[in-house]
């Protein structure tokens, strides 16, 4: 019996050491990507190709889900606010919740599962089929040629995707509450405009989405590069990308919100 307890504790210790070690490897990899990103910024065509795959192809899911999230927010908000006779505040509700939270967070979650997983699978498969090793043989640095362009494309496209998500959400809320239900259009916009502040709401939401972009793509490229070169390893790495980046997005969101909106009305 004591043997089993000891081995359990050993197990816990092993896991903790393993995860701390992995975090260290990930941080060193992240710094390495930053150091070697000069090539991808000089040969910007590499980044543009990746921008197409991560940004443009994510547009449809971002636009459609933004529209629906906004429409649901409008419906639910109207349902509750109408009880207090302040249904014209639904514009404020939709805009503030989208710009501050839902825009950056939901767009980042969608981005992680749409583009992050693709990045991991692509890099992981390149490693499994020894394409990365072949590049190394030809004196082409795989981090500079394969990883860095994908990283920068993700970082660039994330804020744009979050902004498009928020705009589509506001439009969806407008569509449901003003066009279908018949809330007064003037008070919808004017209450929204008097409540949403450029510095505190829109700029902070933008900063959040930049942080999420860095976090999601850093995790995605690391998991892909670190994946065991087997079919199983690649699939596991893809799953880990989605799970880890979702958790990191939510945790980071709490930390950023605590810093940004402390003491702000």
């Amino acid at each position: 019996m004591p043997n089993r307890i000891v081995s359990n504790i050993q197990n816990i210790g092993h896991r903790v050491i393993e995860s701390v070690w992995r975090l260290g490897v990930a941080s060193r990899f992240f710094i390495l990507v930053l150091l070697k990103s000069g090539t991808s910024l000089r040969r910007f065509n590499l980044v543009i190709r990746e921008l197409y795959f991560t940004g443009v192809l994510s547009l449809i899911i971002i636009v459609v889900s933004g529209l629906f999230v906004g429409m649901v927010l409008g419906l639910q908000g109207y349902e509750t606010l109408q009880k207090y006779g302040s249904e014209s505040a639904v514009g404020t509700l939709v805009a503030l919740s989208l710009v501050r939270e839902l825009g950056p967070v939901v767009a980042a979650l969608l981005f992680a599962s749409r583009a992050g997983s693709a990045i991991t699978a692509e890099i992981g498969l390149m490693k499994a089929t020894e394409q990365l090793a072949a590049m190394g043989m030809m004196a082409v640095d795989p981090i500079a040629r394969v990883v860095a362009p994908r990283f920068w494309a993700g970082v660039i496209s994330m804020p744009f995707l979050a902004a498009i998500f928020s705009v589509m959400g506001v439009f969806g809320g407008y569509l449901v509450t003003v066009v279908f239900i018949g809330v007064d259009e003037g008070s919808f916009w004017s209450q929204m405009q008097s409540a949403v502040d450029f510095r505190f709401d829109i700029l902070n939401g933008f900063i959040k989405s930049c942080f999420f972009g860095v976090a999601v793509t850093a995790i995605a490229v690391f998991e892909g590069y670190d994946a065991p070169p087997t079919a199983e390893g690649v699939s596991g790495a893809t799953t880990r990308t989605v799970v880890t980046s979702s958790l990191v997005i939510l945790g980071l969101d709490f930390i950023l919100t605590a810093f940004m909106f402390r003491g702000v009305g």
């Binding site: 940004g55 443009v56 744009f160 003037g186 405009q193 008097s194 949403v196 450029f198």
Partner: protein
């Protein structure tokens, strides 16, 4: 896929993103989009503005006719100078009464304009002479208690 097609799509994507950011700051956040050519500015001194904020609506008979553009504290008269920008379609007589009101029980505060009977209209830069301060709950209760105490004494 062709290089040029890809470039086109990425360009469109970036342009859409920038437009979305512009819409967010201009339409949703209302970053300086007031057109001053079609409005005129009047000021009013209020003893107490309560919770009135910049960009609060100015209403005449409940209809929004303008917005509060600036609130300053005057060290000469020790009251608040509220600057309002009104739509030039709506003109008000010189003896218009401006009071700070609250929309609903818990709603935001706004300025209500009640037109007077003067023939001369308010012009750009004019000052509203008749103002009514915001209701402050503590003052109301204080006045009520004071009245009650005075009444009890006289009995």
């Amino acid at each position: 896929m062709q290089r040029t097609t890809m470039d086109l799509w990425v360009g469109l994507f970036v342009v859409t993103g920038v437009i979305a950011l512009m819409i967010l700051s201009l339409k949703v956040g209302n970053l300086n989009v007031y057109n001053p050519s079609q409005s005129y500015v009047i000021t009013g001194n209020f003893e107490n503005i309560g919770g009135l904020k910049v960009r609060a609506p100015v209403k005449g008979a409940g209809v929004v006719v303008g917005r509060v553009t600036d609130i300053q504290f005057s060290t000469q008269t020790y009251d608040a100078i509220v600057t309002m920008s009104l739509d030039s379609r709506f003109t008000f007589p010189k003896d218009t009464f401006a009071s700070i009101l609250t929309s609903g029980l818990l709603g935001e505060q706004y300025i209500g304009l009640a037109a007077g009977g003067d023939d001369v209209m308010l012009k750009d830069g004019d000052k509203v002479m008749k103002t009514n301060s915001a209701m402050v709950l503590e003052e109301l209760i204080g006045r009520f208690l004071f009245d009650k105490a005075a009444k009890d004494d006289s009995l």
